[in-house]
């Protein structure tokens, strides 16, 4: 057995895990700061410089609080649900390449948890699995509001998963024309977005696939249950939604899962549409160490750009009504995504094989 290989794999996973945790801690703080700025407030500023340790303080507080278990809960499911929320959220990020692979000696070291050749399908599977946590939490709580939240989550997730998947299909089809055959591996999709068109426009999928990008953005906001699609935990109607009956560390797990999901989904959007870690590295002109770090910096910048859009949407738009949510999903996004698949496949076909009458 090649122990160095095992070590590298473990190191990759740990690295991705740590990056995700740190990013999540910063995310929670950044959201509060951005929302405060958009409402002419100051926001958290007491814990650490600029209040950056606010999340750590909140987490510690929740950690030391009592986890109350209501009498009517279905105990097994009730205890399982928080973990079902966290695990898929972390697994999704394991697929995302967060930096250019580099060589240590004769071994390639990819900055990615794991490079599955069915990466995109795995992401879809995991994001569907995450819905189970909401549904189970809502059902097992033995209380009305969580149940309503859980039921809403089911319908919402099914509707928007379809739109998200269809937006991905367009990207996969386009990626197939950019290299040797089709691929579902995220590392490969990123590699194929390297370089530029005509030396100016980067070969990011967002430019040819702008409609798919918009649909994907709307779908991931709905998929992560964020405002304006946060009907699952609509505070004004459902108290806390599916996590009403959770407290202490169990609530913190749901909270963590939500923000991990935001970051993972933003990372996937950056990977699929904004070229992932691609960007100028100026190799040779600046120190080699900086060149090696730069791809990760580009990746984080792109991801945080999309995370910022999440915050922006939340601070701007009021929550949709339930029928509006459904009609947006089924009557607008899915038809739009299907139409876009047809349009882009016709365009790809014409570019590859010429016009049918010529």
């Amino acid at each position: 057995m090649d122990w160095a290989q095992v070590g590298i794999v473990v190191l990759r996973v740990v690295l991705a895990f740590v990056l995700l945790l740190v990013a999540t801690i910063i995310n929670v703080w950044a959201e509060r700061k951005v929302l405060a700025d958009m409402q002419s407030r100051i926001g958290p500023q007491r814990a650490g410089p600029w209040g950056i340790l606010q999340t750590v303080a909140d987490g510690l507080k929740l950690f030391f609080k009592e986890s109350v278990t209501p009498r009517k809960v279905e105990l097994g499911m009730y205890l399982l649900a928080p973990f079902l929320a966290v695990v898929p959220a972390f697994l999704i990020f394991m697929m995302v390449p967060f930096g250019a692979p580099f060589m240590i000696g004769d071994r390639e070291f990819a900055l990615q948890g794991a490079d599955l050749n069915i990466g995109l399908l795995f992401i879809l599977a995991m994001s569907s699995l995450a819905v189970y946590s909401v549904v189970l939490a809502g059902w097992s709580s033995g209380s009305k509001y969580p149940l309503i939240g859980g039921v809403r989550a089911t319908a919402q997730a099914i509707s928007y998963e379809a739109a998200m998947g269809l937006a991905m299909v367009a990207v996969v089809m386009f990626t197939a024309t950019q290299g040797e055959g089709g691929t579902l591996s995220l590392a490969e999709i990123v590699t194929r977005q390297g370089g530029t068109w005509g030396g100016i426009i980067p070969r990011w999928n967002v430019f040819p696939q702008v409609i798919a990008f918009v649909i994907f953005m709307v779908a991931i906001v709905a998929e992560t249950n964020r405002a304006p699609f946060d009907l699952v935990e609509a505070e004004q109607e459902l108290v806390g939604g599916f996590h009403t009956e959770y407290s202490g560390m169990r609530f913190a797990m749901f909270f963590l899962a939500e923000y991990v999901n935001i970051f993972s989904m933003s990372a996937i959007a950056a990977t699929l549409f904004l070229g992932g870690w691609n960007g100028p590295t100026w190799e040779g002109t600046i120190p080699a160490f900086v060149s090696a770090i730069l791809p990760t910096v580009w990746f984080l910048l792109k991801t945080y750009f999309i995370v910022f859009i999440f915050f922006w949407l939340r601070s701007t738009f009021p929550r949709l009504r339930y029928d509006q949510l459904m009609s947006l999903g089924w009557k607008r996004l899915i038809p739009a995504a299907l139409t876009w698949i047809v349009v882009s496949s016709v365009a790809i076909g014409v570019r590859q094989f010429g016009l049918p009458w010529s």
Partner: protein, 216 residues
């Protein structure tokens, strides 16, 4: 298409607000304990019992403040002055003077009722305590020291602003309409607690020249 422009308009509002906040052009909240908001001159804060410039107490123990108080929060008992060593220039002085700050509604009627301007209000409003007894302010806490300073409830607090106790609410006596000929030359209102150090009421023509022309 109409819907999308509306959505973009909404995003513009929050985006512009964010830029304005970051550049410091617009900020609603202040960092409160560190940074105090400006309080208007007539702000009704904690009370203070004043002294005359020679160190005599102004309170004569007449209990008019207690009578005027709508919340019944003032308790006063007067005591006869020792003629050899009087505490106040009147016949009696305020021997017991207590204000229950939990009941006080800070209306300022006690200030208006006081015939000697002994009780005035300051700009200090942070009076939270951890038990009810501490909320009852006695003579020791309310009475100004002979040197003109006012005792602070939390003198060790590093954020305590002692100047707040030296700014009075600038009260006006309700029974003396400004400009009445009989009050010409009488000192009417002050901006600091303690000895009278304010301008006397101006005469009618001076006041008219100073004030803005009336409507109609």
């Amino acid at each position: 298409m109409g819907m999308i422009t509306e959505l973009l308009k909404g995003l513009k509002v929050t985006g512009v607000t964010m830029l304005r906040t970051i550049t410091g052009k617009e900020m609603v909240t202040t960092e409160y304990p560190k940074e105090m908001r400006h309080k208007p001159q007539r702000f009704h804060g904690r009370h203070v019992l004043n002294r005359y410039p020679d160190g005599m107490e102004k309170c004569i123990g007449c209990e008019l403040c207690a009578g005027a108080c709508p919340a019944d929060c003032i308790y006063v008992r007067g005591m006869d002055n020792d003629p050899a060593e009087p505490i106040s220039p009147g016949e009696r002085f305020g021997y017991v003077y207590e204000i229950n700050m939990l009941r006080c509604i800070f209306c300022g009627l006690c200030v208006e009722a006081c015939p000697t301007e002994a009780i005035t209000m300051t700009h200090l409003f942070e009076m939270s305590t951890t038990n009810r007894e501490d909320a009852i302010y006695t003579r020791d806490e309310l009475l100004m020291r002979p040197d003109g300073s006012v005792p602070h409830m939390f003198p060790e607090d590093e954020l305590a602003d002692h100047d707040e106790l030296l700014t009075a609410d600038g009260w006006v006596r309700a029974t003396a309409p400004s400009g009445l000929a009989a009050y010409e030359g009488v000192q009417m209102w002050q901006g600091t607690p303690g000895p009278a150090s304010w301008d006397p009421e101006p005469s009618q023509d001076v006041r008219d020249a100073r004030s803005e022309p009336e409507d109609g």
